[in-house]
């Protein structure tokens, strides 16, 4: 893989001004097109010459994909809204603080200024074998280098492996699942709305994609319902460095309590599976229980029950267990 890593090889760049124009371009170029949002996921692929699109479609000029607006008692967020805006917008900070905190913990200030919410949600995995251009399953090959006997797999998954053991790196994705958000995906045939937890897919469904989106699809809106506005939120991202790094394990939860009893709960974790995971069983276990440390411990135990660690990532189990415990206990 002796490659030149200084500049992006030749390709065409289109800057459509409307969703319709963008969809036409994606339709025209098919699998040779590349959707560019903030570019923080894209440019590494291009510079490494691992992904070689013929046409880059830059969404930066499409005003209808930007901004945050009220929608009934919820919000609609344009996927091209920067993470900085998501992290600081008064409506999000005030009513959906979970999402604001998740966006605020992405990478660095400069990356948040440029990176978009849609890009953060739809980003590809960071498995270094895959990102390094190794011909693994996800890249169309027939081996997983990260689960080979001597592989370095401390960051890889403990749940949901299916040939590929990479994890979803998004910080905002588990917040979306905890908030019961919906993703609006548009293509030439029209619009489809997915619940956040169905939007992200694992390698068992399609080993080359992280989300339901296929070439020609665009994420055109993110809807946050009012259901969980102002609930008790807990977001915690554990990583090696407190800046830049992707998470090792992240937990996001939204809980409603009444008189010390948990009435309703949504808990999601990321960094442990190829998709952000909703912890249905742990949720069911805590609903109706006291919002106490004991409930948290029980939820944590349930959460890690079916984990299958690889050689170097068993540390994720106690980490995840404690994060789930704190997510439940923090609301006391």
């Amino acid at each position: 893989m002796a490659v030149i890593r200084d500049m992006i090889p030749p390709c065409e760049l289109f800057q459509p001004a409307s969703i319709g124009d963008a969809l036409n371009l994606l339709d025209q170029y098919g699998e040779d097109s590349w959707v560019l949002a903030g570019g923080l996921d894209s440019f590494d692929w291009f510079k490494d010459r691992i992904k070689r699109p013929e046409a880059i479609v830059d969404l930066g000029g499409i005003e209808e994909l930007k901004g945050i607006r009220a929608d009934g008692d919820g919000l609609v967020i344009g996927p091209m809204t920067s993470l900085t805006e998501v992290a600081t917008h008064p409506d999000i900070v005030g009513r959906f603080g979970l999402l604001a905190q998740a966006a605020a913990e992405v990478a660095t200030p400069q990356i948040r200024n440029q990176g978009t919410l849609g890009g953060n949600l739809a980003q590809d995995t960071r498995c270094w074998y895959y990102r390094g251009g190794w011909p693994c399953y996800r890249a169309g090959g027939n081996i997983c280098y990260a689960s080979a006997p001597k592989a370095m797999n401390a960051e890889h998954c403990v749940f949901g492996a299916s040939r590929c053991v990479a994890v979803n790196p998004s910080d905002t994705a588990p917040a979306m699942i905890a908030l019961d958000a919906q993703m609006v995906v548009t293509n030439a045939a029209g619009e489809t709305v997915y619940d956040a937890e169905d939007f992200f897919i694992g390698p068992g469904i399609d080993i080359e994609r992280m989300t339901v989106m296929e070439p020609g699809d665009l994420l055109t809106a993110i809807r946050i319902p009012g259901t969980w506005a102002g609930a008790d939120f807990h977001f915690e991202k554990i990583r090696d460095r407190q800046s830049w790094d992707f998470s090792l394990v992240t937990v996001a939860s939204a809980i409603r309590t009444s008189g010390g009893t948990i009435q309703d709960a949504r808990i999601s974790v990321n960094g442990v599976a190829p998709y952000p995971m909703r912890l249905d069983e742990a949720e069911r276990a805590v609903i109706g229980q006291a919002a106490s440390d004991d409930t948290g411990i029980a939820a944590g135990d349930i959460a890690i029950r079916r984990a299958q660690p690889l050689r170097h990532n068993a540390y994720k189990l106690p980490l995840m267990k404690n994060l789930v415990r704190r997510a439940v206990r923090a609301e006391v």
């Binding site: 500049m7 760049l13 800057q15 923080l40 510079k47 880059i56 830059d58 400069q110 830049w244």
Partner: protein
């Protein structure tokens, strides 16, 4: 890569003669791009077929309107350094992982290595060269760094100073901790963070005196 390979890679769609020729040109361009220069004739013709962006553009850099010929796939750091001669913007990692290339776009810090120049058309770009006032008076952040001897080798300094400038201009009275948070997108391999934060604190002080 030969022309034959290119065509096979691109799948089953119909190939016009024009597309075939374009493939040949692109193959040539890949080879000449390895020379690190943009100016080879192969590079100049590639990427121009079928619409796309207009290459000749006017960039607003440090208050000046600069005409420049920009490739569709060129990063802002490349344009600033190698087309406009503004070499104060450093390229460290070229991967949004070090912060040395930090510049302001409409007053907000971005990594110039990780955005295309075409993405900033019509927006105000400010680089380290544009920080001092027209009469040559240093920006309070630059003065603070001078007074505190803020950096050791200082390769990362332009990026740090740009981040510091944006933050102190918008956050009067910021604490040392807030400065550290604001500078968390810049790396210093000399590990001179203590003096960099001293500089930031002094910059906050100078900024309040100026206001």
């Amino acid at each position: 890569m030969t022309e034959v390979e290119i065509i096979r890679d691109r799948g089953p769609r119909n190939y016009s003669r024009r597309k075939f020729i374009k493939g040949v040109i692109a193959a040539g361009a890949t080879v000449s791009a390895s020379s690190y220069l943009f100016r080879g004739p192969g590079v100049l013709t590639a990427g121009q077929a079928r619409g796309g962006v207009e290459r000749l553009m006017t960039l607003s850099v440090n208050g000046q309107q600069r005409r420049v010929d920009v490739l569709p796939y060129e990063t802002l750091a490349m344009t600033l350094r190698y087309k406009l001669g503004l070499t104060g913007t450093k390229l460290g990692c070229d991967r949004a992982e070090c912060g040395a290339c930090t510049v302001h776009i409409d007053g907000v810090s971005h990594y110039a290595c990780s955005m295309l120049t075409h993405q900033v058309r019509g927006r105000a770009i400010r680089t380290i060269e544009g920080l001092e006032s027209p009469d040559g008076e240093l920006h309070p952040v630059q003065q603070a760094v001078m007074d505190e001897g803020g950096f050791q080798c200082a390769f990362c300094a332009p990026g740090f100073i740009m981040s510091m400038a944006e933050f102190t201009e918008n956050n009067p009275g910021a604490t040392r901790e807030q400065c550290a948070q604001a500078l968390s997108g810049n790396l210093c391999r000399c590990g001179d963070y203590n003096k960099i934060l001293n500089s930031a604190e002094r910059a906050v002080e100078y900024m309040s005196q100026r206001a």
